[in-house]
């Protein structure tokens, strides 16, 4: 006996104002509701838990009153690599080029940045050892390295038709193994007592912290120059992708490749353009992590920022400025998640489960803004009643 109802998703022809506001609101509420069930099962009071998470991610009014913005700055620090990778993914996905390789491009950028910081001073002793020289050189090197790592799968795609989902994914593992080999082998700190990790970068290659920059020094803590670069790049990409002819071509290619080609837009040129841009931006993410935070190449770089960037880009609808906001909220979820353990004594796995529940609800809610659920009654033996076409 068959189930008497038939469920179908039907594309909405027009997204009404109610739907565009209501569905995301509902899905976020649903996310917190389902998350609350999980928390209750784990023995934690949901409301109090969410409060602790929000306070952990953004701070509380009394902390702000004391001039203590520790929580916010940590969230922005955590958001920085996600902004870069989210932007990188968004650029590529706009033309339906599935760059799953931002993790590897990030790692390559970090490797290039490390090389500049540790080995360039010996190679080019005449180069002035100041931040004004070494930070731009590091950025250029990281951009080239990330772009190069994206260029290879891109050229393989346009010349040989190699599926970029597979090739970019696999290139992640090559980059990660190379990175692990470097910091456990040839680049290991000679004074590190054998513990894996490169030597510490000389200070003239560190990204300045906000506390060292005039005006921005109202924020202390670890927040660094990388966040500024990320926001500036988001602005630049917004202009390039939404306001220029090249951006228009890329969008058109993504929406309808055949029509775009018919209109004389080169696929090859645009794939290469976008992937170099995408890889380059991801490369700077790697540099920002090593030059802004750890000041050495060490374990902990391949923690999935590239993959989280895909979620960020997707929730942000591939829009550069939205990527910044979504990345910050995503980071808040990570940083706030620490509080589940610190303040409430929940096991670390609960915070991953909660993050998963929230993301799943938000992403699946997105389906219902674009599609409507159509339920039709199936009369047994007589096919579907009321079926349109």
């Amino acid at each position: 006996m068959s189930f008497p109802w038939k469920f179908e998703l039907e594309r909405r022809l027009e997204v009404s104002r109610w739907v565009s506001w209501g569905v995301p609101t509902l899905s976020v509420l649903a996310a917190f509701f389902f998350g609350g069930i999980i928390l209750s099962l784990a023995g934690a009071p949901p409301i109090e838990t969410y409060r602790a998470m929000a306070a952990g991610a953004f701070g509380s009014i009394s902390e702000w009153a004391d001039g203590n913005f520790f929580a916010v700055t940590e969230t922005l620090v955590r958001a920085t690599p996600l902004i870069f990778t989210g932007l990188a993914v968004a650029m590529a996905f706009r033309m339906l080029f599935w760059n799953i390789g931002t993790e590897g491009q990030l790692v390559m950028g970090a490797i290039a940045g490390t090389w500049v910081a540790i080995y360039l001073p010996d190679l080019l002793p005449w180069l002035p050892q100041t931040r004004w020289v070494y930070i731009p050189v590091g950025i250029i090197a990281a951009t080239i390295a990330g772009a190069f790592w994206a260029f290879i799968p891109a050229i393989m795609k346009v010349k040989l038709g190699v599926n970029e989902i597979i090739s970019t994914l696999m290139f992640n593992y090559i980059a990660i193994l190379l990175y692990q080999q470097l910091y456990t082998g040839p680049w290991k700190d000679p004074e590190g007592f054998g513990f894996p990790g490169s030597a510490q970068f000389p200070e003239f290659s560190w990204f300045p912290k906000f506390s060292e920059i005039p005006v921005l020094n109202v924020l202390s803590g670890r927040i660094h120059f990388g966040f500024i670069i990320a926001v500036v790049i988001a602005g630049v990409l917004w202009v390039v992708m939404d306001k220029t002819r090249r951006g228009y071509e890329v969008r058109l290619l993504g929406e309808n490749t055949n029509a775009a080609q018919y209109a004389g837009i080169s696929v090859i040129k645009n794939v290469l353009f976008v992937m170099i841009l995408s890889g380059g931006v991801a490369g700077i993410a790697g540099l920002s992590e090593v030059a802004g935070l750890g000041h050495r190449l060490q374990a902990g770089l391949d923690v999935g920022n590239g993959f989280t960037g895909i979620i960020v880009a997707w929730i942000a609808k591939l829009r550069p400025l939205s990527v910044v906001i979504v990345a910050i909220l995503m980071a808040a979820l990570f940083v706030g998640g620490d509080q589940l353990q610190i303040s409430l004594g929940l096991p670390s796995s609960i915070s991953s489960v909660l993050q998963g529940a929230i993301l799943l609800s938000v992403l699946s809610g997105d389906v219902f803004t674009r599609y409507r659920l159509k339920i039709t009654r199936v009369v047994v033996g007589a096919g579907v009643v009321g079926e349109e076409a």
Partner: protein, 371 residues
């Protein structure tokens, strides 16, 4: 489409703001002066940062037993909390700073890779006491804490050396840092003291905690002919692999005979609670030397040897106990010459023993170790 996104963001922001607004007191408490925590009504707040989950039945599990011992000993006077699975590197700095920012009086960072982050944060919070386990960098408010684990390592090596038939001992090891190298060397010397033909083969995993990798490394060693597996990791996977292959093992961190039965001969064990309790007592009394480099031996109770399995002969047990008594009395130590390294160079001359400084920086392997 754009509008929808902003709606989502707006909702998230509203929820966040609503939740964040009233939460001032849920997580923050006034910081008490270091050492003065016990005198006031306010309990002393102690935080632990763990590299693996507390269920690893090894390194982190033992630290958490230490934390529980602190709670049991001090009751209301001390409030402890912990965070597990904190990756070494930049992420750990956020966690350590978060605890400091929340006004914890004592923060105990329990993995080698937390060394630089601990030093960095400690410089910003001079009134907070930090204890870093297994490192070598101290500051006015950063004490380092470890045990002379090489002594029980040597003793467990004697049990392994007496048990092997292939004369090949397998050793699953995390990172080639002095702490681990010292353990391998001590284990090898112990094994060679009962059987000079011993060879110790080392596989590096480059991780403290990764159950499948630890298991695979042990299996590779068993396949290469090792019939006793020792390890310097966080879990019990190498010992389980040994048991599954019908071989025996030497444990590390905890007594795991309940898990792998009599296949584990014995093994070095940590008891952190002893030292944690004494640190807190001294802090309450205001007498704690916050920059100490503590390196406790067998007599302190921080380190010991797990009970022997029935498979260790009485003769071997007696020999090990006799040696242990010599270590405890200070009559002898593990790294007393002549000791030759595995490249043939004499590292310790006959009649001399290594001092603490050279042991802490040990970077060579004794003869008989192959990696």
């Amino acid at each position: 489409m754009k509008r929808k996104l902003f709606a989502l963001v707006a909702v998230l922001a509203i929820v966040a703001a609503a939740c964040g607004g009233g939460s001032a007191d849920t997580t923050t408490t006034t910081a008490a002066d270091t050492g003065g925590g016990g005198a006031a009504e306010e309990p002393m707040k102690v935080a632990f940062v763990y590299v693996a989950p507390i269920g690893d039945l090894g390194w982190t599990y033992q630290h958490d037993l230490g934390r529980q011992a602190v709670e049991a000993r001090f009751g209301d006077k001390v409030e402890t909390t912990f965070i597990e699975n904190v990756a070494e590197g930049p992420d750990s700095e956020r966690v350590i700073r978060d605890f400091a920012n929340k006004g914890f009086d004592l923060i105990i960072a329990t993995s080698f890779g937390y060394m630089d982050p601990t030093i960095t944060v400690a410089a910003e919070f001079p009134d907070t006491q930090f204890v870093h386990i297994s490192g070598f960098k101290n500051a006015d408010n950063v004490a380092t804490l470890f045990g002379r684990m090489y002594q029980p390592r040597y003793l467990s090596g004697m049990a392994a050396g007496a048990a092997t038939e292939s004369n090949i001992l397998g050793y699953v090891a995390a990172f080639p840092i002095p702490e681990v190298i010292r353990g391998i060397d001590a284990f090898t010397l112990g094994a060679q003291s009962v059987n000079p033909d011993i060879e110790v083969r080392v596989v590096w995993t480059n991780t403290w905690f990764d159950p499948p990798t630890e298991k695979e490394a042990a299996e590779a060693l068993l396949a290469a002919g090792a019939d006793v597996i020792a390890q310097h990791q966080d879990t019990t996977e190498p010992q389980k692999a040994a048991q599954a292959a019908g071989a025996v093992s030497i444990s590390y961190n905890s007594d795991i005979s309940e898990i792998v039965g009599d296949s584990v001969l014995t093994g070095p064990v940590w008891d952190w609670g002893v030292k944690y309790i004494s640190i807190i007592e001294e802090m309450m009394a205001g007498t704690y030397d916050g920059s100490e480099s503590y390196w406790g031996g067998l007599s302190d109770g921080v380190i010991s040897l797990a009970p022997f399995s029935d498979r260790v002969s009485q003769e071997t047990q007696d020999a090990i106990n006799a040696k242990m008594a010599e270590f405890e009395s200070g009559a002898t130590d593990v790294f007393c010459g002549p000791i030759v390294d595995n490249e043939g160079t004499e590292q310790v001359a006959a009649g001399t023993c290594m001092d603490d400084g050279s042991m802490l920086g040990m970077e060579w392997f004794v003869k008989g170790v192959s990696q």
